[in-house]
Symmetry: C2
Subunit: 358 residues, 2 copies
């Protein structure tokens, strides 16, 4: 059996830190085990264009392993060429880099390690909200360059307490964000989702659902995006929706870059319509050197909390999703049923509503 | 009556942002009110040396207003010269910049606006813990300079979940930190304090007290300092104590800079004994341009989350402490009793145990 894994390079870091399991070098810890069973494992970060390791090997691989952090984009065209492919495994959560409708049509299963990094991402969201609202980055840069002018920081620093915070998506990540925000004593927690939370879950975080998206964003001091990318959410946060935000709101998106229109966000930040934008997801990844989100700033020169896509690939998360990939492979190899919550696409059909299937 | 206030300069920011109340320009919003009553209000940021506005006017001022952010250091020598002084008011929380024993001897009251910014500081602590543990700053710097190498960030990024987090001091700020950490599912929350928390308060955050400081720090993945500066805490975190920390622990100090030995912290960071140090307090303030904490880094080039002293002077906090200063002044002018929780030094005696009086 031929297994193809597209991971990110670790270089020296991967040699020095064996817990960097999700790298080309450390191969999700799968190499010895798969080789001992006689399987072929090809691992690379080379993923773009017809001569890439990804595209050359997809034609006869039976198993494809990818990650959201350095996504191997599996298009319908590549599905057509992937004659041997049986199963796609996402090391992490979020399989939008795979054409899921094409997977359905080709009867190729798509599985994720559900839950493996939802806490990691939720923590990153809360951190990002705090650092935007409290104006952390300009403050740190001031110290590094040798200055000290408290008023230039304080003029745009606020407490999170008593603010209205809303999540677009109250699923596994969004709900964990709400849970972590409760003791910050927000004025209110609200959410926008296609389905209401179970009553007990909503009550536990005292979150109110707002059904209309424009109305929802118009009530929020802070908006955080925690929904999957699919046809219904691509470009959801655009000029038009941003015009309904409160003036000076903060926006955090660790879901997928393409949910927010990058130029619209940069414009809203430059005008002060947004006071800050933070997140770790980009369309595409790695982000080009000239991506507008790298240096977009608010009128006071702050409000940018961007990082590369790593919130879900902390060392703690890597241990969990490496284990999860192995379990999925073990089930596949031995013909055991997969954990239901890990199945995105079963044989010829969606097994989740998370990707916009109602 | 002559009132002297030592505040930080706001310059253009204070003109543009009237909510920057704690600045020289906006005078805590007190000017019109005090002038209408015929009082003299002198406000300046000029505080160092015998020719400073502070030292020249302290000789006949009846009321002194200072802040922890740009502290007017009121020494025993200055107390000896301050023949008219009756009351010192700290706009904020933390009056260690005043020689409290000298205040007792001179029968000069010292009051704070207790509680005015404890939430602000607690939020800053939680933010700082998250950004150190999750390795945020090197990640943001990577994006700004146009790079993308996830493994260089992920190799030193962790989840806060399942870590042991301990606070030195479980008072008004430290306890609020513990409350905010509960839903992050730490392995354990522990605290070191001269007094145990009331049983119900400890149970509410499931925090365990450790009575020996060395034993306490040796159990923590994250240590946060939330105690006042006094004779018993000055230099508390020194080479010796740092040697008892877990290798690679994170340290957050938003209490007072002098509680941590600055060179010992920088050494521990450079050696990797600490993975990160973050906070907003410095000994002295403004921090000199060459203060070692401005650029101290861990062996991987990260782990520095320092900012100027502003966590307790967000715009939300400024509204609260400006109001609080006015209330204290109103009580003083009308002879009404002060709120007990605001009194640090009454007439000739300590009214709090917070500054090391047992």
């Amino acid at each position: 059996m031929k297994i193809l894994a597209i991971l990110y390079n670790g270089f020296k870091a991967a040699e020095e830190e064996p817990r960097l399991l999700g790298t080309v070098e450390n191969k999700l810890g799968l190499e010895d085990w798969l080789k001992s069973q006689g399987h072929e494992l090809i691992v690379s970060s080379d993923k773009e264009g017809p001569d890439s390791v990804f595209q050359k090997n997809i034609v006869d691989a039976e198993v494809l392993i990818t990650t959201p952090f350095h996504p191997g984009y599996l298009t319908r065209e590549l599905f057509d060429k992937a004659k041997n492919l049986k199963i796609c495994i996402t090391a992490g959560v979020g399989s939008d880099h795979i054409d899921l409708n094409a997977a359905v049509d080709h009867k190729i299963q798509v599985l994720e390690v559900s839950g493996s990094n939802v806490v990691s991402v939720a923590e990153h969201v809360v951190m990002s909200i705090l650092l935007l609202v409290r104006n952390f980055i300009p403050a740190h840069e001031m110290i590094e360059r040798g200055d000290w002018q408290v008023s230039d920081i304080a003029r745009n620093a606020f407490d999170l307490e008593n603010k209205v915070i809303g999540t677009i998506g109250a699923g596994r990540i969004g709900y964990r964000v709400l849970q972590r925000l409760v003791p910050f004593d927000p004025k209110e927690l609200i959410y926008y989702d296609y389905a209401p939370l179970p009553a007990a879950a909503a009550e536990a975080v005292k979150a109110r659902r707002v059904e209309d998206l424009k109305e929802f964003v118009s009530q929020c001091d802070v908006v955080t995006v925690n929904c999957p990318l699919h046809e219904g959410t691509r470009g959801l946060v655009n000029d038009e929706l941003l015009s309904h935000f409160k003036k000076g709101a903060w926006l955090v998106n660790t879901a997928r870059g393409a949910i927010c229109d990058k130029d619209a966000v940069a414009r809203a930040l430059a005008s002060g319509q947004l006071a800050g934008y933070s997140g770790d997801v980009w369309d595409v990844q790695p982000a080009p050197k000239d991506h507008v989100w790298r240096k977009a700033k608010n009128p006071l020169g702050g409000g940018n909390g961007m990082v590369p896509h790593y919130s879900g690939t902390t060392l703690d998360a890597q241990a969990r999703y490496a284990n999860g990939v192995r379990s999925i492979l073990e089930n596949y190899l031995s013909g055991k049923p997969q954990e239901p919550q890990n199945i995105i696409i079963g044989l010829g059909k969606y097994e989740t509503k998370a990707y916009g299937q109602r």
